[in-house]
């Protein structure tokens, strides 16, 4: 081996060691058990097989750590990697994908497919949470309008899914991760909204069941009955009958 080859080998080995050290690290997740946004990060970490410390936050009494690590939004989830905080669930998922890049890619490799994945994840972020919340916080005409909007958004997503097993195609990916956390909230939406999501979007429900067969998903989602109880308590607090 000549000098240049030796240097290259040493550089590669050092980089490999550095990357290993970066990965032998402290990963903490500040989260709230029922948050569909927190679930995204749990799933991403599980997909990559990353060991981390889960810290449950009391959102009525936010920890000093949360306020320090996310002073701008004061929200969960927050990932703390070797002391450095990353906020915003989709940003965290992309960070996880980029740092732990040797297995289970969460985003497609093709730039156009990647952009499409980001587009749909952004759509989910913009449309799903508020529409869902409106379903369980309103009554009468307002609620009917909320249901219509909620189902409309789901139908668009169902069309995008088409006949693929996952939004990512053959493999579970970014858009699946962005959406699946909402599925454990479906039971609560349906009960308080008095409608059936499966009747309107059967393919989406089939997709959700398929995702739940993955351990990374089933271990990360909250139990739908517990979510229902949580929403029930929230409605009481908000004075909604």
């Amino acid at each position: 081996m000549n000098q240049e080859q030796q240097d290259n080998l040493q550089n590669a080995q050092e980089q490999g060691v550095r990357q290993k050290i970066a990965r032998m690290d402290e990963v903490i997740l500040l989260d709230f058990w029922v948050s569909m946004f927190g679930m995204r990060v749990r799933i991403a970490l599980a997909e990559k097989g990353i060991k981390y410390e889960y810290k449950e936050e009391d959102l009525r009494n936010k920890s000093v750590l949360l306020l320090q690590m996310n002073p701008i939004h004061k929200k969960i989830p927050v990932l703390i990697h070797n002391g450095k905080p990353i906020s915003e669930s989709l940003i965290i998922v992309q960070y996880v994908d980029e740092v732990w890049n040797e297995k289970a890619p969460l985003l497609p490799s093709d730039p156009y497919q990647r952009a499409q994945a980001r587009f749909w994840a952004d759509f989910i972020d913009k449309k799903m949470y508020d529409a869902g919340r409106n379903v369980w916080t309103t009554k009468g005409e307002e609620q009917e309008a909320a249901k219509k909007e909620f189902l409309g958004n789901l139908k668009l997503l169902e069309t995008e899914l088409g006949n693929k097993p996952y939004f990512g195609g053959d493999s579970f990916g970014f858009v699946d991760i962005a959406l699946i956390g909402f599925s454990c909230w479906f039971h609560a939406y349906e009960t308080f909204g008095n409608f059936s999501i499966e009747a309107e979007c059967p393919k989406l429900i089939a997709w959700a069941k398929r995702c739940m067969e993955k351990e990374s998903v089933s271990k990360s989602l909250a139990d739908e009955k517990k979510v229902y109880e949580f929403v029930s308590r929230m409605r009481n607090k908000l004075g909604i009958e």
Partner: protein, 217 residues
């Protein structure tokens, strides 16, 4: 092989112009189509059926919507003049900054200048938001020595906000309160490439004056 890039946009929209800035920084030629929002072209609706908004980028007949999605696509497709850092943590920070500007600053600016009842509260909120940006700025640009994602998205603050301030006569971004941000504003709008793409200040002021008059009548 010709790159065949088309952009559907609005000359006065900060979201739309950021796509043009990114393409220009990378030296990419594109065919520009100005949209009329009161009469959207059939092509726009075909390319962005979900949101029916600008900007839309079409590359080799494949459409993309949502300005931040488009910016990342541009950066990944044309690797010269990178607008996102290579380090994953720095990339996360840049994405966070860009989202912060769009999700927090933009609505606050909108309310501070266009709404009547929520104005005072929005002005206070905007001041707090700008303080965060002021603290983040430690170099010529948010991107460091060169223009990056946050600077491009921040053109909203560097160029559109000062025009709004002049029309409304309400100055929030002052040198006294935000010395670094004001210096950055100047650097950014005078950047040799950026200034070729930004709409003229006079035209923006005329646009905002017209909009303000039509909403108050």
């Amino acid at each position: 092989m010709a790159e065949e890039v088309k952009v559907f946009g609005l000359w006065g929209s900060p979201f739309s112009r950021r796509v043009d800035i990114a393409l220009k920084l990378k030296g990419i030629d594109s065919e520009y189509h100005e949209e009329d929002l009161s009469n959207k072209s059939s092509l726009l609706i075909k390319y962005n059926p979900i949101h029916k908004k600008v900007p839309v980028l079409v590359h080799h007949d494949k459409p993309l919507a949502e300005s931040q999605v488009i910016l990342e696509y541009i950066d990944e497709t044309w690797e010269n003049y990178p607008i996102l850092p290579k380090d994953p943590y720095e990339r996360a920070k840049a994405r966070f900054g860009a989202r912060f500007i769009d999700d927090k600053c933009f609505p606050a600016i909108w309310k501070a200048y266009w709404s009547k009842d929520e104005r005072e509260k929005a002005v206070e909120e905007l001041i707090e938001l700008l303080k965060f940006l002021e603290n983040e700025l430690n170099d010529n640009f948010f991107g460091g020595e060169t223009v990056g994602l946050v600077d491009i998205v921040g053109s909203l603050i560097a160029h559109w906000l000062p025009a709004l301030q002049e029309v409304a006569g309400v100055e929030i971004l002052t040198e006294e309160k935000f010395p670094k941000l004001c210096r950055w504003t100047h650097e950014f709008v005078n950047h040799s490439v950026v200034k070729e793409v930004l709409p003229s200040r006079e035209k923006l002021i005329a646009l905002f004056r017209a909009l303000l008059e039509s909403t108050s009548s």
